[in-house]
Symmetry: C2
Subunit: 148 residues, 2 copies
């Protein structure tokens, strides 16, 4: 199986498959005589594993660890769970940051006429909101949230 077919079978672009190989997330693919990468069913299995983990938001580093644990038949499920829980916590943090933003924005937008008149509470807020001293907790004010 060439890389195009592997891509279709796994849902990962050929570009990314090469990249994952380059950074060591997956082992270098076997090569045909013409130096084409070839993939066996087990390789596709691995790629699908990666696809699933990636879709659940895991980073490449986390996926490296997860793949290692997957291949370690003597792994402790606690190690896997710990990574998952840490990732959930990270996602929860991002969600909280987003929720705080949308709460503030919805409030500002609801007070804005949104017509041809120039008065706009949104711009007024941006112009006059007091500078943040520091992030106290999750509120309508926070530093550059790690959401992008």
């Amino acid at each position: 199986m060439n890389i195009g077919e592997a891509s279709r079978a796994s849902g990962i672009s050929a570009k990314m498959i090469r990249y994952y190989e380059q950074i060591g997330l997956i082992a270098p693919a076997h090569r045909s005589e013409a130096q084409y990468r070839t993939y066996a069913d087990t390789d596709i299995h691995t790629l699908r594993f990666i696809r699933r983990a990636r879709d659940l938001g895991f980073s490449v580093e986390q996926m490296k660890t997860l793949l290692a644990l997957w291949h370690d038949r003597a792994r402790a499920s606690g190690d896997v769970k710990a990574i998952a829980l840490e990732h959930i916590a990270e996602l929860d943090r991002k969600a909280a940051a987003i929720a705080a933003m949308t709460a503030t924005l919805r409030h500002l937008a609801s007070n804005c006429h949104g017509d041809a008149r120039p008065d706009c509470p949104i711009l007024d807020d941006f112009a006059d909101a007091p500078p943040e001293t520091d992030m106290p907790e999750v509120s309508a004010r926070f530093g550059r949230a790690n959401i992008g």
Copy 2:
């Protein structure tokens, strides 16, 4: 006021102030004889505006538009509100993607013993989850969500 003081007054790093100038988000600062950037109160006001918008998750491109509207005394508040609503919609999409991820992950984690035993439903799912055909709607399955 030099860039360091402007940074402290606005909450934006000196690095980012220079970057914002470079990409044209803000006008080139006035320079002292020694070519030091100098900032007046109005400049700080603009930087604080940017800080606020940035903290609410707006992109540089959106901030460019918002700054233009801010300076346009004949603006229509509807134009500002439209940008805000679009951004809220974008944030909601990210939040939904995150929520779908955490829902799936919490479910998998709750079924994982998380002890020294190797059996792990999380890895089992990653290894065997059917490949996604395409994103149907917001569910536990979705493509590479735009959350990072």
